[in-house]
């Protein structure tokens, strides 16, 4: 057992998928030319005032409910004051004194063991813009793009309840999955829709007393967050083992060097001088509003898993795997709707489809074989039109090209042969060509019988119906 163990907490920033920004009517679309989705309000021009986007509040309520938080009846906004050129007002409108959701929890599954992680709070804030550093040698300027300024963010702050990288990964995956489920964000990490900050302290293994906490910003993917946790744990361990102290500080993740580094003193805001934003009135979240959001909440993972077990008669294991991601569950449901054999489709999902997705690192939406195509493959097996072996080939082809499986089977003549006349011909040929094997079968060697069946299947190029082959062969060799 190592002498020190990490204690990890998360602050997760989620860009909400509202059509418009949190305090003005500008679009939140990603990828527009710089400074084309801006107005006096999100540019922070003199005299302008923010007006809260109710949809953003609703999404935050949804998030708070999904994370089992208490919802604050009167929620307010505060100003977080710091100077940075991507922050037009030089303060960020956030929530400090009356966060929308507080004291929640989420259960995570760590290699089969369920662990409960406490959520300190869920609050709303506005995103900042972006600085673009020109890739011109010697350039002594940066450019500011404020398209993103004012995009609604939900920040989810956990308690330091995580102890290993596995737990951290499970937590991040669970959150991402949950946020996709409740349809508040598309969570595209490559577009910065989901961003992580971790805080790590070390304590003597088994001890209750926490060590000094270090916060690390600027983690744009789960992989980075894990690398950072590993590095920071090693860094702090080395310090403690040398008898040195860990400073309470905020560090930045340096992706190129794969290390955390202390922020320069000018990069650190020592005091955010939070105070209630006098431009915004408190928002009353009435019981009716909360109930309305709750009533329209999309199905959560637990509920979906239970329903899969009941509705599709799936084992717990299958249901858990299929509902671990909303997009996978949706794919499965579409396939199951197209052909009524939920268990067979589940088997195909768990083996073939998930493997392909993992290998290619893509989402089900980007998988060339559509759910209806998968259903067609299973249906052709069930109707004895193709064998299981042929089905695997058809799947592989369709998964590559996106061609319709039925069309592949027809075009390549893969339909199963059930005409006994044709099969008899292959059986007779095989018997004639392999007298030794026939003799062994007659002597009672069942293994050789299977080998002979294989010979016949080969002659049919896999298309002969295996049951018929068996039957006919048995009748020929008494």
């Amino acid at each position: 057992m190592p002498r020190y163990e990490p204690v990890i907490g998360f602050e997760v920033h989620v860009e909400l998928c509202t059509n418009t920004k949190i305090f003005c009517g500008c679009s939140t679309r990603f990828g527009a030319p710089p400074n084309t989705q801006v107005c006096p309000v999100c540019l922070g021009m003199p005299g302008v005032l923010p007006v809260v986007n109710r949809k953003a509040v609703e999404f935050a309520i949804r998030t708070a409910i999904a994370l089992n938080c208490g919802i604050t009846k009167y929620t307010t906004f505060d100003r977080k004051n710091y100077y940075y050129p991507d922050l037009p007002k030089n303060y960020q409108i956030s929530q400090n004194y009356a966060s929308l959701g507080t004291s929640g929890w989420v259960d995570i599954d760590v290699n089969g063991t369920v662990k409960r992680v406490r959520i300190n709070n869920v609050h709303l804030e506005e995103d900042a813009g972006k600085l673009l550093h020109p890739e011109i040698p010697g350039a002594n300027y940066s450019l500011v793009d404020l398209n993103r300024a004012g995009t609604p963010l939900v920040e989810i702050v956990s308690e330091p309840d995580l102890g290993t990288a596995d737990e951290a990964l499970a937590y991040m995956n669970t959150l991402k999955n949950l946020l996709e489920y409740i349809e508040v964000s598309d969570c595209k990490m490559q577009e910065g829709r989901l961003r992580f900050e971790v805080n790590i302290s070390l304590r003597e293994s088994g001890a209750a007393k926490l060590g000094t906490k270090v916060e690390i910003k600027n983690l744009n993917s789960m992989k980075t967050a894990l690398k950072c946790i590993g590095h920071e744990t090693r860094r702090q361990t080395a310090l403690l083992e040398r008898g040195e102290k860990v400073f309470q500080e905020t560090r930045l993740w340096d992706e190129a060097a794969s290390v955390t580094r202390a922020m320069r003193s000018k990069e650190v805001a020592h005091d955010y001088r939070y105070f209630p934003d006098p431009d915004l009135v408190e928002i009353h979240i009435t019981d009716e509003w909360q109930e309305q959001v709750r009533a329209h909440l999309p199905e959560l993972p637990d509920a979906k898993r239970q329903r899969f077990i009941a509705e599709y008669d799936l084992p717990e294991y299958d249901a858990r795997l299929l509902t671990a991601s909303k997009t996978v569950a949706t794919y499965y449901e579409r396939a199951a709707a197209a052909h009524n054999n939920p268990k067979a489709i589940s088997n195909w999902m768990m083996t073939e489809v998930l493997r392909e997705l993992r290998e290619r690192d893509i989402e089900p939406d980007d998988f060339p074989l559509k759910p209806e195509g998968l259903a067609a493959i299973v249906e052709m097996i069930d109707d004895a039109r193709i064998s299981g072996k042929i089905a695997k080939d058809v799947f592989a082809k369709a998964a590559q090209s996106g061609r319709d499986p039925g069309e592949i089977v027809n075009a390549e003549g893969l339909l199963q042969v059930t005409d006994t006349g044709e099969i008899e011909k292959w059986v007779d040929e095989a018997i004639a060509e392999n007298p030794d094997m026939v003799a062994k079968v007659k002597a009672g060697q069942t293994k050789t019988f299977q080998a002979l069946v294989g010979q016949i299947m080969k002659k049919s190029r896999g298309k002969a119906n295996p049951a018929l082959v068996n039957e006919l062969l048995k009748s020929r060799i008494p």
């Binding site: 006096p40 003199p46 005299g47 005032l49 037009p88 303060y91 940066s142 006098p278 009135v281």
Partner: protein, 489 residues
Amino acid sequence: MELYEMTAHELRGKFERRELSSAEVTAAVMKRAADIEPLVRAYVTIAHDEADSAAAEADRALAPGKSAPPLAGIPIAVKDNMCTKGMRTTCSSKILANFVPPYDATVVTRLRGQMAVITGKTNLDEFAMGSSTENSGIHKTFNPWDLERVPGGSSGGSAAAVAAGMAIMATGSDTGGSIRQPASFCGVVGLKPTYGLVSRYGLVAFASSLDQIGPITRDVEDAALLLNAMAGHDPLDTTSAKIMPPDYTTFINRSVKGMRIGLPAEYFGDGQEPEVRAAIDKSVRKLEELGAEPVEVELHHSPYAVAAYYLCATAEASSNLARYDGAQYGMRAEADNVIDMCSRTRARGFGAEVKRRIMLGTYALSAGYYDAYYVKALKARTLIKRDFDRAFEKCDVIASPTSPTAAFKVGEKTDNPLEMYLSDIFTIPVNLAGICAISIPCGFTLQNLPIGLQLIAPAFEEGRLFTISHAFEQATEWHKKRPSVMPSS
């Protein structure tokens, strides 16, 4: 009487009877403004061309058979901290000296909707921080009654312009007395509406929880007309009240019989000039003659108002003014890196008083001081509000001086900020409580300087203020006096 000396309601009658056109009145006002601007310096920007074309358009709307809005064709000056699309809006600060907003403040939109003629932008203490307009980063403004004296502030340009005939009416903004005190110093009417009655959208923020736009006019009826145009909910300002304001002109020409006038002992103690005190006492007796009943009330926490105000207002200001960093608009001081650019821009762009208040506010919000200063100031604010609630159980309006003194000399108080801050001792509590108050002319000192009477009413009871101040005005002649500023030839 000269055309530029008339009130909006008099002009309205003449427009309707075709005795006058907006073009004629506008020409007279713009000429007067150009003639005496070198002496009074009320404006930051005079908008001759815009005014001419707005007047022509108003005259078309005033043609026979058409129903023009009440302020059509009336020349109105706009305080230079309210954004005007395409017209420079400086806040009298070097840092915004070249800032041209791409949008109108809601109040400006409403004035344009009424086809008012915007004459230009009036001078103020930089970012409305001051009580004399001496803190303007552009130039000082002088009191038309005595050009060696200040016009008050921060809406000094607007008050001076209205007093001197350089506009028929004007907009002002009032955070701690910035409409009422200059109105008092310049012998005109100034109303600070209830917080939330008038939209703040496009008003460059000083202290967001206290700022309120209101009218500065030559008489009470004009103030009601201008407030009619300004008041009402604005979806762009969520702190604006969701109420349907009444027609404020219906509150004039009403009797004040039985109206109870609260006289707070705290407002009639030491610290005011005897001449001011005498004028207020006389005004109260005049109201008594008209049938009002004086009653004594208490405002125990008033002594804490100035301190609480300078914590709340500066705290908000320190954050509101953070955006002026040279990155996006306004002045930029060049530097090798962004941090130096920001600090140099602010060091060169802001004046001394603005810097003083930003530092005060930053301190008040800092970790370790927040509870001791900011939170405590908010508590004092609540107590002051409660004082007023209790007082209004006993009375309908409260009377007091607007300012403890008449207009002081230019430079007299610039070396002593604290003394300058006390200039707003009677006006500040009204902002902290979020209620409404008016300042009306009620006498003159021996040196022929105007004195203002402040009347305070509960939230959204502007109607009461119009009733009582109109009755007072009808019974007195103070509002008819005009300063005699003569262009130097």
